[in-house]
Symmetry: none
Subunit: 445 residues, 2 copies
């Protein structure tokens, strides 16, 4: 695996404080995930800006006023989402105009756009409550909305930017990438290119990872808040991400990529990929690179391993299929797992994991197969002295078949997720070695 | 299906201001969704409290200090998540202790718990950076963590509560429900029971649902902000929830449950369940009630239908297994789907959906089977004049086997989710009728 393509060194930007205010009772009541934070935070992060703060508040006028006043006083850029709709609980435009001492002026272009939208849906007259969406701040601009009635609003004062966006994600997202990002970049508030390098690792803990990479960080002036290099770790179920950036702009993106390549070299097989790919995606890429196929058999994990492959585009060519066997009959009928093997060693055993991996590989004609066997019964189920968290995974490869016992503490869902990741990581390491061997073989020829 | 157990009428609570501070660069950079807001907001909402504000900040010391100082000054309850880990960017404990003028004291019980955890993983010595997790605020308490090394921290002063929780959701969530909610309820900060009744429906749109239920709402003084009854709708991928509450406290929980029962009566088969159960869970309950079994076959949906059953406790007894067939060979070899049927009608066809449902039911000896066939190729794949969003679902029941064509607009992921929900809802309605028929049969005998 090679380092990502070098992108042109982004010009340094003056650090500015960005705040995002997200409005909505449905967010505070946990009924809807705050996708605006994920989206806007991600978009800004890729352009060298980390949101300083995201505040989620109710759509009540007093809450909007207090929060906007505070954020506008301290930040350089304030982005709001929501509260621009036609109903009586949409108050963002009016409240913020008042805080800024701006009057709202009627904008015929917006009215015409709303009218045109209503006509397209076969409506002939504009409901009066939609009319309030045709107003912009006196000293500001508006951002046309191709996917809804509420335009975004834009306002600048004393070097600060305010940007008010509509709440529905399918309206906010294109408006943000197509209109807001270019406007911010024009004013020098964003980098012109990507701003950080992320290494993703598997099978190594956060503290061990930090310790292993420390020599690289030290060689580049340490990974402190004030140094040229900034390092952040993020752990999730058997994977740890390490993100390298240079908020001060002292390191160019080529230098960051060179540092990342040194880290990769130190990590060996524990290095998984650059960026955001999942373990399953990395495995699929390795399978494709080696022109190999995969099958999966699961017992007791209810399709969790299989579903990791579900969202990978065009996966069907190398991922031939999967069997989720909840009953022993299914293992026997569908995968030729010998009945006596199950009765002698148990359904959750190394022997059974091996039989399932081989069975599904042979049935589907796959080069590789992963199997996983776990207790699927009640949380208290306990059989043959194995603890509840015990899981066996099996790996069938062209040169052999093996099983491993895994044991994790924690709730069932966590145990299964970790086991699935451990199984995928085992396959990944096997594929890395196999691809390396065939590359060596190719060199010798 | 019967109404939920009546719980004691929750005592009214004095309104208090709850703020949640979520820490983490990964949230602000959009790398991780803010699941803590969704979880904690939802849990508090069910106990009659709406979060006043959620603030997400970086894990930088200055940001934690500024935000905590501000939130602690204005709120009655401040909950923080994250920054209690062992690495150098975990600073919450230290910074907040300083703001509160509290010293940190070493707690041997926490050290022993961390030690014990490390021993279980086969580690004999405690890494020095884990030691800082063994400290609590001088005047405060700690919340044991059964799923990780960082305990939660609890502190009370002048009627205010501070609760600091670890960042990983699998650690935070059980700590919140098992320790934080009871502590807050004891102090009268939360209702003692659920604050609302939720009806979940399937296969009916939001506006139609509202119109159907309006007579019930009207009979109880309407569903306005000022009336005794408050009604909220929430739609998600083919399901609509209707939540009944009485913020004024004028209706007791028994009265709310009686109103919900009237709604249930009006809805007939469109009523799915009370509360939060998934379609798959409702199907499993109906299968268990009728002592029947289910199998699943998927082609082109990558295990999405199967994974709906994965998290249901003890599902293995009635959900016998599933096959995810990405290749036509898998359909032929494993499910006896005739090759000529695929070549004549196509892999995405009513005929193939029927063959897969029957095949998996017979192979696994299941009473019911659901199948689903969709295009799994590139997003532009198009075959036999079917649009890309076309999906066929098949249902095998003891008294017959049928297929249905579904067609949805939108991105692939949305289409698949809607198709999976439509398939499950079809099975649900079939099971409701079958169970009703056998109940009638039992009455006649």
């Amino acid at each position: 695996m090679s380092t990502p393509e070098p992108s042109p060194t982004p010009k340094a930007i003056k650090p500015r404080r960005f705040e995002l205010i997200t409005l909505g009772d449905e967010l505070l009541l946990g009924l809807t995930a705050n996708s605006h934070l994920t989206f806007i935070g991600g978009q800004l992060g890729r352009r060298g800006v980390q949101l300083a703060r995201n505040v989620t508040i109710t759509d009540e006028a007093g809450a909007i006023e207090r929060q906007f006043r505070e954020s506008w006083a301290g930040a350089d850029v304030v982005i709001t989402s929501g509260g621009l709709g036609p109903t009586c609980d949409d108050r963002t435009r009016e409240v913020i105009a008042e805080v800024l001492g701006q009057s709202l002026v009627f904008e015929p272009i917006i009215e015409a756009a709303i009218m045109e939208r209503f006509n397209r849906f076969g409506l002939k007259t504009l409901p009066p409550n939609n009319l309030k969406q045709a107003y912009r701040l006196e000293g500001g601009d508006f951002l046309p909305n191709a996917h809804g009635t509420a335009p975004g609003l834009w306002f600048e004062e004393a070097g600060k930017v305010l940007c008010m966006l509509p709440g529905p994600p399918n309206e906010l997202q294109p408006m943000f990438t197509e209109q807001v990002l270019p406007r911010l970049a024009e004013r020098g508030f964003l980098l012109s290119g990507e701003a950080y390098v992320q290494l993703r690792t598997a099978g190594i803990g956060e503290s061990e990872l930090e310790a292993r990479l420390q020599p690289v960080f030290d060689a580049h002036g340490g990974a402190g808040e004030d140094g040229p290099l900034s390092v952040a770790f993020c752990a999730h179920a058997g994977q740890v991400d390490c993100r390298l950036s240079s908020p001060s702009g002292l390191l160019t993106s080529e230098q960051l990529q060179a540092i990342a390549a040194q880290c990769e070299g130190l990590l060996g097989e524990d290095f998984m990929c650059y960026g955001e790919a999942s373990l399953a995606k990395v495995c699929v890429d390795l399978l494709r690179a080696g022109d190999k196929t995969l099958a999966v058999a699961e017992a007791g994990t209810g399709g969790l391993l299989t579903s990791e492959f579900g969202e990978i585009c065009g996966v069907a060519k190398c991922f031939l299929g999967a069997l989720v066997c909840n009953s022993n009959e299914a293992k026997v009928t569908l995968l030729d797992c010998p009945e006596c093997l199950i009765s002698q060693h148990g359904a959750v055993s190394a022997e059974c994991a091996v039989a399932l991996a081989t069975g599904v590989a042979e049935r589907l004609g796959a080069d590789y197969a992963l199997s996983i066997t776990a207790f699927s019964g009640a949380p208290c189920a306990n059989e043959r002295g194995n603890e509840v968290g015990t899981i066996f995974v099996g790996l069938h490869a062209p040169d052999g078949v093996w099983a491993r016992k895994l044991s994790y503490p924690g709730p069932r869902r966590t145990i299964k997720t970790r086991a699935v990741n451990a199984a995928l990581d085992w396959l990944r390491r096997e594929l890395v070695r196999a691809n390396a061997r065939s590359a060596e073989g190719a060199c010798l020829i």
